[in-house]
Amino acid sequence: MEMVRRIEWRRNWFLIGLVVGVLLYAFSGPLDEVNARTDAPGSGLLSLAGPIGVGLLFFGVVGILTLVAARVLGPIAAKSATNRRLMQGLGAAILLLAFVFLPWYYDIFPYATLYKLTIALQWVMVIIGINLLTGYTGQISLGQGAFFAIGGYTLGIASFHEWSLPWAISLLIAPVITGILGFLVGIPSLRLKGPYLALATLAFAVIVMPIAKRFEEFTGGVQGIAMFGKIKLWDVFADHSDYFWYYLSLAAAVLMLVFVWNIMHGRIGRALIAIRDNEIAASAMGVNVALYKTTVFGIAAAFAGFAGAVNAAVIQFASPDQYSTLVSIRVFVGAVIGGVASVPGAVFGGLFTQFIPDIAADVSKAAADAVQAVILIVFMYAMRGGFAGFVVQTWHYGRRGVQLLRPAASREPATEASAAASAPSPSGSE
């Protein structure tokens, strides 16, 4: 009993979670059978056990790997800045190779198909834009889904419905149009802060589809624009179109990630974070706050627009149904859960956005968003930095030394309680 009381929960939850996860996963089979025998609404809750188990397992494994990496590689990285950069490069290279060769082994992952992975990469593009805009510059935008939609419609209208430009040209026009539009949306946004900006951008996301439906002659109205079989790839790729779109999405996503990474590690990145942290001081340092904010709005919108265009090309359709307001909210949630101020976090965020609904659909098709919502809220309490923040925190924890138990308490319970109450503050400032 004393042992249990002394466990350092806050730092080691993922290790304990690993054990619980294994147990839950092991028992989820029988629970599913119980579930299958009843059909009352809400009985699906039982089958939550499996996904929760998988989730805990995932964090446990990632946590342990991070701890090991911190113990083994941490000292080397700490030696010099060159070492650290080399390791970051190595990490990025491994991740990139994993994605490059993914089409050969994706089927070892449950739920994964090449098609879904392609779309996940498109979410990565939208999310890295959100990271730049919200995570680094501090501008909350709940309207990225609108630019995604506009990108998709641009392809449809420019290549198939209204004009007949080559699709490749339209793919390039889409980010230009959404980029300019984003820049323009950014101008009124200069005067809005925090929740007001969130509100105005959410309203923007809401109005885009009614407008699209209204201009029926351009957008095909409620029907949308079908592009089935109309996108002719060059002969070389014609028989491998799914691979083509996967690698195109991968290349674009990588370019965008590198773009943001580079920007954030230099003069511009410092200026953006300065804007987020203290706008007045930033302008006193000579940062043109208005220009930077609108530019970042434009970049994020261009990313979302390109992603939307590629997405429409892949699913060969652009219609109001696929661009509900919820798309905006879902990618935002994905961004936050991946880690909104982190470049690698965007990769995780994209995968999360695409696959969580599938995983949650095991419980109930309709519950996907509820599961996302619960994960989101749990993250806001436990890991505000998202998944990327979790890895970073665990890394630091590993560097300082793993500590499973608190030092034996020799004082009376009263002081222990006050110590526990003040415990969050030192870790909060990490």
Partner: protein
């Protein structure tokens, strides 16, 4: 006294600033001679920080001019002022809490560097060269102000005195022509204040900078300033060398008598 006779670097003319019915600055005029340390003093609410915020473009006064070299600062947006060679610190610290000390200081280089989104995104050679220059200058000022030990820590959580020095470093790193210090002694203890006086004088000679200093602490201002401007309830009541100001009956009545 030669410094006071130098041509003015900054000329403040008839600046009037009203907030609703409150007149924070009432037709204030003074000069900051080039190369001088000029002190701007006055009791609480005299309008010192308001004056600072007008000079740096954060407030727009209803009338008046602030001429720096050939520019009327009141016509410029805030971000256009730093590139002219004007740097400032803030009374209540305006650092960037999530950034490291080093990055905070590097933001101070923003006004004297050029490279934009594209050249940074593509890591073009000139962007990299500029980054190396930024690093070198940041290192220089870190060593000058003794911030080496904390350079890689995030700002949040550092002691107040250190934060003040970081702000100073951020202002100095761009090698400004005019340095505006808003209550640099605030929150410091006695020894720290006398060290600060020496530091400001050393900064003036080493960086060849003109200093305008808003300060509460009379000893510091009188000890290091070549010229002192006294504000009281938004009006200038005295202007001259520390000795002249100290003898001024208005000043004694408005300020010294109350404060001592």
């Amino acid at each position: 006294m030669t410094v006071v006779a130098a041509p003015p670097l900054l000329r403040v003319r008839d600046v009037t600033m009203r907030f609703g019915g409150l007149v924070a600055l009432d037709s204030v005029s003074f000069d900051v001679p080039a190369g001088s340390i000029t002190g701007l003093i006055g009791p609480n609410g005299a309008g010192k920080t308001t004056m600072f915020n007008c000079i740096t473009g954060l407030y727009r006064p209803q009338s008046g001019e602030v001429i720096y070299k050939d520019h009327d600062l009141l016509r410029l947006p805030p971000h256009r002022i730093a590139p002219l060679g004007i740097a400032r610190t803030f009374q209540n610290l305006a650092l960037f809490p999530t950034m490291s000390v080093r990055d905070n200081i590097a933001v101070g280089m923003h006004s004297v560097t050029r490279q934009g989104f594209i050249s940074h995104a593509l890591k073009l050679p000139w962007a990299l060269r500029e980054e190396r220059e930024v690093e070198r200058r940041v290192d220089e000022v870190i060593d000058f102000l003794g911030l080496r030990d904390v350079a890689n820590l995030p700002c949040a959580g550092l002691p107040f005195g250190t934060l003040k020095r970081i702000e100073l470093a951020r202002a100095l790193v761009s090698r400004p022509t005019l340095l505006l210090l808003d209550e640099p002694a605030g929150g410091l203890n006695h020894e720290e204040i006398s060290a600060l006086g020496d530091l400001i004088k050393e900064i003036r000679s080493r960086f060849d900078v003109t200093v305008l200093l808003v300060e509460h602490h009379m000893g510091l201002v009188m000890g290091i300033s070549d010229k002192v401007v006294v504000l009281d309830f938004g009006k200038k009541i005295a202007d001259g060398t520390p000795d002249e100001v100290r003898r001024d009956p208005d000043v004694i009545q408005a300020y010294l008598g109350v404060d001592e």
